[in-house]
């Protein structure tokens, strides 16, 4: 892998606009790369899965599907999701940084990242974090890079936290239930999704506990579901968990949305997005910090030109 990283760094070099192309499943998030931007590919493949350490080292160009099948052999999984795991790459999912349906149970994407090996705008190899499940050695650049759309550094290899595959994961669907009461009544649910009419519940863990929760909390209003519902659209909004209560109840066919209860993420298409206002944008002082960071990490603006983290909420180019 050392060689793969070296050649990744060489391809990136130290001059000219450059971006890493993964599966291009979210290529337009935050804006399209400017024309003339060189596209490079990150190393591909699982380097090492260490089940006893619960970590996996993987090339950023590896698809989630390949990662899943390798780690599964050791009875573990990595808490990353994508709508198309056969195309989405680890590096792409981390660059975008937005989680899937199971965020309530799994936590945010960034909590799965332990170490990142990236290439700086100057073409140098940069390592942050460590291949350890607990570590506070130095500044946490991994958190800065996850969700940065590759605008601060380009990631070639990462070490991710693995978790034991639970005994069971089951889904349920019901109509007419109060999703907020359901979410509050369940102990550490994996997911509670609501479209204004139906509520889907994902539970993971020991079978006895799931059956117990289904009986005592979900009750007769719910029936087993094969899987969670499909995404209603490719846009998303970030609301406070309480603000979900005020979502426009036009769940019908025209403006569908699907909310992650207890989290605040709303998945939707453009029609619904127009009517779901984002929480107020950060203050100008916060954007000043963004500028100060960009000036230092990428003074020439060569990493993913045309993309900006401030464009994500607006849904630019998704």
């Amino acid at each position: 892998m050392k060689d793969a990283l070296r050649s990744f760094a060489d391809q990136i070099g130290s001059e000219g606009p450059v971006a890493v192309a993964g599966g291009k499943t979210h290529w337009g998030v935050g804006g399209w790369p400017a024309t003339g931007t060189k596209e490079v590919a990150a190393p591909v493949g699982v380097v090492a899965h260490e089940p006893a350490e619960m970590i996996v080292r993987v090339g950023a160009g590896t698809t989630l599907e390949e990662l899943r099948s390798t780690v599964e052999e050791g009875g573990q999984f990595v808490a990353l999701e994508a709508d198309d795991p056969s195309k989405a790459t680890v590096g792409g999912v981390l660059a975008v940084g937005l989680g899937g349906y199971r965020r309530l149970g799994w936590g945010p994407v960034r909590d799965s990242v332990l170490e990142m090996t990236s290439v700086t705008a100057g073409g140098e190899v940069l390592r942050s974090g460590a291949p350890l499940v607990k570590n506070v050695t130095g500044y946490d650049l991994c958190r800065l890079f996850v969700g940065s759309l590759g605008t601060l550094a380009l990631t070639g290899e990462v070490v991710l936290r693995c978790r034991p595959i639970p005994e069971a994961e089951t889904w349920w669907v019901g109509e007419g239930a109060d999703p907020f009461a359901v979410a509050a009544g369940l102990y550490r649910p994996l997911s509670v999704l609501w479209n204004g009419i139906h509520t889907w519940v994902g539970l993971a863990g020991y079978r006895v506990d799931i059956e117990d929760q289904a009986r005592t909390v979900l009750g007769r209003a719910f029936r087993p579901a094969e899987r969670p519902p499909p995404l209603p659209g490719r846009l998303r909004r970030s609301l406070t968990p309480r603000d979900l209560r005020a979502l426009p109840s036009t769940a019908g066919v025209d403006r569908p949305w699907l909310a992650q209860v207890g989290v605040g993420v709303v998945h939707c298409g453009e029609a619904a997005a127009e009517r779901i206002g984002p929480v107020g944008p950060p203050s100008s002082g916060v954007w000043d910090l963004h500028r100060a960071l960009k000036e230092r990490f990428d003074p020439a603006g060569r990493l993913n030109p045309g993309r900006s983290v401030s464009g994500v909420a607006a849904g630019a180019g998704v």
Binding site: V125, L126, L132, L144, P164, V279, G285, L289
Partner: protein, 477 residues
């Protein structure tokens, strides 16, 4: 400008009685709970974000660096004042109000000086708690937890502080105020909240923090296992994790610790054991029962002489009290201690503990181990009498060897106490110049003039060319 003028201006910004420059006060604030001593010029006690901002602006006008400080329980010298000119220490202890508790959305806004345990106690009636539980939780502040990204026994399952902080209001080094993160899950922009957590007071002062509150588990089982060798205990830890079980907590204490703790708090620990494991599993009844018997079987298979399950909440509390009193208890052996904090891959526990033992015994030092075994977070504890001639040198030498051993085993410098001053010169052991330079970019973006808690974390004061001033006595470089 003189210190008298500084005191006067800070007194105008705050109130004269909350600005102190007497010899006694300065001595009290010249270090944290580490052995690293610095020098403060003034100590002040703001009561609001507005006052923090005003104090920071006065510092700027006077060309003084400043050091944020919570309860001063940090162990890496993070709150020890260092600088080309003696810094102003800005203490948050008077900002200790819980501002808002939202039980529906399970978060609370708190001031930074709120003590960790006070927060959990205040929300217990709602069935909630603040999950990070450092052993110092009776006295450390939430602001300090955020700055150090602190951990604790139950962070094995629940995650360290970073996973429990949603947002914070921060006074930056120029006195301006920003809010990082948000109550909504995906605030626009970079995760500056995540970058701030763990920055050890070098990127600004958190003046208001939104922390996640976690439901108390409906069912808890605590197991106490004793082993006749440290080897068996360490192998049992690896065995539990390898079986795909992540307990809520998985702690180890060796014979040295068990003996003093037992004499001190009578927790009911077996004093003839070479090592004791404290394992807690929590969740819903059915799963806890399954997990308890699985863990018990694994512990026995790895040679546990006896595995006891706490009979009731009182027994559980006694065991945890024992675990968390270890640092107080060791005063029975000798007056001073040096508590180390390193992380290693969990599969290396056995050989690293062996080597750590040899490092101490070959120097005639008394060393105990009490640590978060489940995540490979070692806490070798060297106990000594600093009055004995030559002992300090030996203690520091042993400390350096322990760090080198952990790094050689694939580990890193700190699992939860941070780098501060203590380990900044060891950063070169785990990072390249490029890595450190990039960390400096982050720090500089927040504080371009380096006025917020200078000379911490990065080696050579964060400069590549080494224009570093003195190191305080006690730094082991």
């Amino acid at each position: 400008m003189t210190t008298a003028a500084l005191v006067r201006d800070l007194g105008v910004a705050l109130a004269p009685d909350r600005v102190r420059a007497g010899a006694l006060e300065l001595a009290l604030y010249e270090r944290d709970a580490s052995m690293l001593t610095g020098q403060a010029s003034v100590v002040c006690f703001p009561t609001s974000a507005g006052e923090v901002s005003a104090a920071v602006r006065v510092c700027r006008d006077h060309g003084r660096p400043f050091v944020p400080r919570g309860s001063g329980t940090g162990l890496a010298g993070g709150a020890t004042p260092l600088g080309q000119v003696a810094p102003v220490v800005i203490v948050t202890t008077k900002m200790n109000k819980i501002l808002e508790v939202d039980s529906e959305q399970r978060f609370a806004w708190v001031e930074p000086g709120v003590l960790n345990l006070d927060l959990s106690t205040a929300v217990a009636h709602l069935g909630l708690h603040f999950a990070p539980d450092p052993s110092s939780q009776q006295s450390c502040s939430v602001g300090g937890n955020v700055a150090n990204n602190s951990g604790g026994p139950h962070c094995l399952l629940y995650g360290v502080t970073s996973a429990h902080v949603l947002a914070m209001e921060v006074v930056l080094a120029d006195g301006s105020v920003v809010v990082l993160g948000g109550i909504d899950p995906e605030p626009e922009g970079l995760d500056l909240r995540g970058a701030f957590v763990g920055s050890e007071g070098t990127m600004g002062i958190a003046t208001r923090i939104a922390v996640r509150l976690t439901p108390l588990p409906p069912c808890v089982a605590t197991l106490l296992a004793d082993f006749s060798t440290i080897h068996d205990a360490a192998a049992a830890v690896t065995g539990v994790i390898a079986a795909g079980i992540i307990p809520a907590a998985l702690e180890m204490m060796d014979a040295t610790i068990v003996e003093v703790v037992e004499a001190y708090v009578h927790a009911g620990f077996p004093t003839d054991a070479a090592a004791v494991l404290l394992v807690e599993v929590d969740g819903l009844r059915g799963g806890v029962d399954v997990c308890t018997s699985d863990v018990e079987a694994i512990l026995k298979a790895h040679g546990a002489r006896e595995v006891r399950v706490a009979a009731d909440a009182a027994e559980r509390a006694a065991w945890w009290k024992g675990r968390k009193s270890a640092f107080g208890a060791i005063a029975r052996i000798a007056p001073s201690y040096y508590l180390h904090d390193c992380v290693i891959p969990r599969t290396r526990l056995v050989d690293v503990l062996d080597e750590v033992g040899r490092i101490a015994s070959s120097r005639d030092l008394v060393l105990g181990n009490v640590f978060h075994a489940g995540d490979g977070n070692l806490h070798p504890l060297i106990v000594f009498d600093r009055r004995a001639p030559g002992v300090l040198e030996k203690v520091h030498e042993a400390g350096r060897k322990i760090i080198e051993t952990c790094v050689a085993a694939g580990g890193s410098l700190s699992g939860e106490h941070g780098i501060g001053i203590e380990k900044r010169e060891a950063m070169d052991l785990v990072f390249t110049e490029v890595d450190l330079e990039a960390q400096k970019w982050l720090r500089d973006a927040f504080d371009p003039e380096g006025r917020c808690n200078p000379e911490k974390i990065l080696p050579r004061g964060g400069s590549r060319c080494g224009d570093i001033s003195s190191l305080p006595p006690g730094a082991w470089v």
